[in-house]
Symmetry: C2
Subunit: 692 residues, 2 copies
């Protein structure tokens, strides 16, 4: 594999190895000596021996080939050292030295130098400003962390070194193990994308956990993570959800869309599970490391305490899971186990009289039930059984089924034997049944992810050149913001519009309305009037006969309320009836064009009932966008109203996606409103902003 020398080296050099206790170069060396079975070469021109090992002046002097270099020298000489490594044939390095981008401009320059050398020489570099790498499957602690990790099948990366040390301290105490444990540092060369690809191919890694503060190569991340999550779950906690005060936006889409929406969309599209906090990150990781996703959301609950069983049922609902309806045959079999007081429905309440044999029997029936796809086993402590016994029941059940089992054996800390039973069986256990259900929900979610559509968005036939010509023309006017006059561009992308023709006089307007022959909409054409409705520059539902009069009245009003605004005329447009929706795009610095769909009208900004995906979007994704808004039932048709033509909306979303991707110079785009009816959907107004 590409990074095998990083995670499975046979020899490691510590460049900047130090005799000074507490120095990073000393800590790394000590950690290596304590953990690593392969060859270790301290490199330090000022020392002969450190910790009993012969020291070398430089890496080129090391007599044998070195797989991996850990670099702990002062920042200014790191670039040279990396060049030397490369020259000596060492292509993998971990730079633990600080003093780069994190300290300001000077450091950022050094970091660029470092990255250039790595790129030019094909080096795999973790860091700089990293704590290092731990790989339990290679007995490798190439870090200055204070502890070695326990072995396990979770691989973890963190963009915060401090968080690494906290996690390691905690994990060692609770017995959570890792395969690889990486402090990413400044990600000058290798980043999260390289690691998820490497770990996906890695047999020792069942689940990837990451603490990230940002993703730079957004599109690439989606592309690769989408592949990785087919077979290896990825759970990410992303710091920095709170938005900075939004910069002045020129569109509804721009106003509503924050950078966190882009992250959420990207994670959804790539099948990455986003943990809301640290507790979720590790709860999700633990269950994904040991159990397989269930086929459905149907859960069987077994308990010896009714009330907490009800709490678990509440939690199922909260996390989108369902109580399984047990088969009649299961209920019949349970008759034998249950006391007269027991609940015969799911959740199965064995009552406080149940011992571990009753649990064993009831559990076996529930697991066999075809309507049950995962099991939550709960209990309050009882004198009639011990937790070592009850956990054995759960562990044995796991042997007999692939259906997930989680525990909510309530009370204080379990006895070591009980803990071991659960750990060996891979059954997570929590006091709080809601937390157990949440863990289970991550497994269910990963099942959905495995099955999700990963098709590449198709390319629709459009007249890209014609659109480009028109865009050039619009740019030449010098206006960065384009309004109704931009409708023609959409025509070239096959996006249905209701043409809005420009009238310069009341008579022209009346003639245009006459041609349309039904109610029309009048809209002022002026790049200087941003909020046309608010300014009185829009009039809907005008009879053709009244158009001339309304034209004049609008112009007169606007000359009062918007003095000095340059008005090109008034556009006349057929009035189409239907539900108003909005389709928009906004360019995100990390992920490219972010596409938005939502209910239109005044609801868009207030209700924020919108959905996002990163472009390009596939047909399935476009449909998900339309169907996932809360107001979707309105589009489906409610209270006797006919539903709208959803396919037309899906089509518009896809075409907008393609338009945005083809024209990265579009910084923001609003199609608002798009009028959707049972007969189709038409864009009635457009607004976009060029970034250049």
């Amino acid at each position: 594999m590409k990074l095998s020398n990083l995670f499975h080296p046979s020899s490691v050099a510590v460049i900047g190895a130090s005799r000074k206790k507490g120095a990073v170069g000393r800590e790394v060396l000590t950690n290596l000596i304590q953990s690593f079975d392969g060859e270790i070469f301290p490199v330090n021109p000022k020392a002969d021996k450190i910790e009993g090992l012969k020291c070398y002046d430089r890496i080129s002097k090391v007599p044998s080939y070195v797989d991996l270099a850990v670099v702990a020298v002062p920042a200014p000489i790191v670039p040279d050292v990396l060049q030397e490594c490369s020259d000596a044939g060492t292509k993998d390095a971990i730079v633990v030295s600080g003093g780069f981008k994190e300290v300001g401009e000077e450091g950022a320059k050094l970091e660029e130098e470092l990255a250039t050398i790595a790129r030019d020489n094909g080096l795999n570099v973790i860091g700089p400003n990293a704590i290092g790498v731990i790989s339990t499957s290679s007995n490798l602690n190439a870090s200055f962390a204070q502890e070695m990790a326990l072995p396990g099948n979770i691989s973890f990366m963190s963009q915060s070194g401090a968080f690494c040390t906290a996690v390691l301290d905690w994990a060692n105490e609770v017995g959570m193990g890792f395969n690889h444990f990486v402090s990413l540092g400044n990600k000058a060369v290798l980043d999260e994308i390289d690691l998820i690809e490497e770990w996906d191919r890695d047999e020792g890694t069942e689940v990837i956990l990451a603490y990230l503060e940002g993703i730079k190569r957004g599109s690439k991340f989606i592309e690769r993570a989408k592949e990785v999550t087919k077979s290896t779950p990825i759970v990410v906690v992303k710091a920095g959800k709170t938005e900075e005060g939004a910069s002045a936006a020129e569109s509804h889409t721009g106003t509503i869309t924050g950078s966190d929406d882009a992250y959420n969309a990207a994670f959804t599209q790539s099948g990455v599970i986003r943990a809301e906090n640290i507790e979720e990150l590790f709860d999700f990781g633990s269950i994904l490391a040991h159990q397989s996703p269930p086929d459905t959301r149907k859960v069987g609950i077994i308990t010896n305490a009714g009330g907490p069983g009800v709490m678990a049922t509440d939690a199922l609902d909260g996390y989108g899971l369902e109580l399984a309806a047990l088969q009649q045959s299961t209920l019949n079999k349970l008759e034998g186990v249950l006391s007269s007081l027991a609940s015969r429905q799911n959740p199965i309440d064995l009552t406080g009289k149940a011992d571990e044999k009753d649990y064993r029997e009831a559990l076996s029936y529930i697991i066999e039930d075809e309507n049950v796809d995962s099991v939550l086993a709960m209990s309050a402590p009882a004198a009639i059984f011990s937790y070592p016994e009850l956990t054995k029941v759960l562990a044995d059940a796991r042997q007999k089924t692939d259906k997930p089992i989680v525990g909510a054996l309530m009370g204080g800390k379990l006895e070591p034997e009980a803990q071991d039973n659960l750990k060996n069986a891979g059954v997570p256990n929590y006091f709080d049944p809601a937390r157990a259900v949440r863990a289970l929900s991550a497994l269910v979610k990963y099942g959905d992810i495995r099955r999700m559509d990963r098709s590449t968005p198709g390319h629709l036939t459009v007249q890209k050149e014609k659109a480009e010509e028109k865009l050039e023309e619009l740019k030449e006017t010098g206006n960065r913001v384009v309004g109704l006059e931009g409708l023609e561009v959409l025509d070239h992308y096959g996006i249905p519009t209701t043409p809005a023709k420009l009238a310069r006089t009341p008579e022209e307007a009346a003639d245009l309305a006459e041609d349309i022959g039904s109610l029309v909409v009048l809209k002022v054409d002026s790049s200087q009037i941003v909020h046309k409705s608010d300014a009185g520059g829009v009039k809907v539902g005008v009879e053709p006969a009244d158009v001339a009069w309304e034209f004049q009245s609008m112009i007169d009003n606007l000359s009062d309320t918007q003095p000095g605004a340059e008005i090109n005329g008034i556009r006349v447009q057929e009035m189409v009836e239907g539900e108003e929706v909005i389709v928009g795009s906004k360019r995100d610095p990390q992920f490219g064009q972010l596409i938005m769909f939502g209910l239109g009208g005044i609801y868009v900004e207030i209700m924020k009932d919108v959905s996002f995906r990163v472009a390009p979007v596939s047909t399935t994704q476009a449909r998900e966008m339309v169907e996932s808004i809360n107001g979707y039932p309105i589009l489906e048709g409610v209270r006797g109203k006919e539903g709208v033509d959803v396919d037309s909306l899906v089509n518009i979303v896809q075409r907008v996606s393609q338009f945005a991707v083809d024209h990265p110079e579009i910084g923001e785009l609003d199609l608002n409103p798009v009028i959707a009816s049972s007969k189709g959907a038409w864009v009635a107004d457009v607004r976009f902003r060029f970034t250049q």
Copy 2:
């Protein structure tokens, strides 16, 4: 205090004391002997001595006065035993015997007998079917729980006995203490209301925690809890949020409103904090037990790790708290502490170079800052300081300020010394900064609760008798569901309506419209057509000149689509323009009339943007209802539109509340739509259902 013999007895009798190991009567006795300093009298006619104590045949034979009886005899003789207790002068009892309501009809009868005896004799009875009562301040373990609780200032009650045992097991391990610890059992006599009142007066109780499955005396609960929460916080976890399949409802309000909405409204109105799960229950309890609510939501964060600081900031946002903007003087003082790499803004990042002295100094400046009202102290483990040192810094800081301090000292389990430092200072600590912030948010919420409006809803002047007359008249028609013809009832309650006069012929309709003189709405009058709009029985915006024709056309259509429906005619109503909202009520079996407010139109059922309060609602509460819906900005006026007259809506909500309270026979009520404009609000349609 009323229940002082229950929680602070000087003598306890165990009726049904048993020699048999494992028997409940034996466990209770053993627990008492091990804990209690007062006199203990076993009562059992078949024994002379148990555990070395002289046994009595019956409680009347006990030579001295007995404060408290624990009853552990078989269910059928419990009523007689209670009568004997009463006759012997013992007015407080805990019935741990099972075999009552929980086993079916027979048991339920016994339980009624028990309750009657208690009521007739003025007995205070906990249970039946309870585990018992623990009171650490009296060294009293009058339960068959396997352990005694640790002392503390939290009092806890649980409707689930099994949950009690789980909590006790866990609490003793993590070191959480309780003042009183009560298993409520079946609540035949004493319930949560009695206990919150008792514990509010109890000096040893700083916070009340409860696990409840239901509240029977709903209005009383609100009335009393509202008083208690002025000085004693109450946190409740309520099992059973998931709704049963809603029964067929006759109104929008009925369709949307579930029993959990009533609980949420009741908790909001009474200042009870609802915990979503067990983790929240005890996290909230711990912080409320030791710290006082801050004045504002402004939080100062101090950390040695930037990334986790960002996570904490995200969490603040998620829990409705705010990052404090530090004063310039604080920033100046911090200059001296901070390394060149440190963040000078809140969250203050001291960087990994900070030792405990830096924390001490920085913390003192932040606490002094007037813009900071609570502090989150975070850290990753670092070689430069130890957690015993850092926790000492936090503990010392707590000595100097009333501002809340919570910790997110990350890593594994703290050293005992560090744990003690935090515990003695009452500083909760969590690995996950989000969890620390959530705990803090409970404290902030309790601050809001202390300050909340507790005024008694005023009584508005209405014509109750006239309304009653009209209601009687409507009832006499035999229709349980009343439509537009009910508008008159609202008039008597001072609720503005747009009159809808009944026309039986096209000509009558045209005349009515002529009188109105502007656009009208036509609505079919038929108790057999439930969804008028869907059936084509509503036509809005009709010109008076078109009314006759539209009348005929509607009748013709309906005779096709609703064959056999009895149609009284068509009502003609002035068409008022404005925002559509809905005001409704639904009778809840526990809490009485539940009032709903929300955005109307098709959005009400799909968006469910509604708010609830239990009637009667005060002016402040009615205003909160209106202001708390997501769509409130629409009512305030958006994009150049004038806002609506919110006071009129508040007034309607209050009058509906009074109407619903005055007429408990109204099971469901919809005012939908209520049309609100800048000039006022008018009810355009009504629908209600009688329960009898």
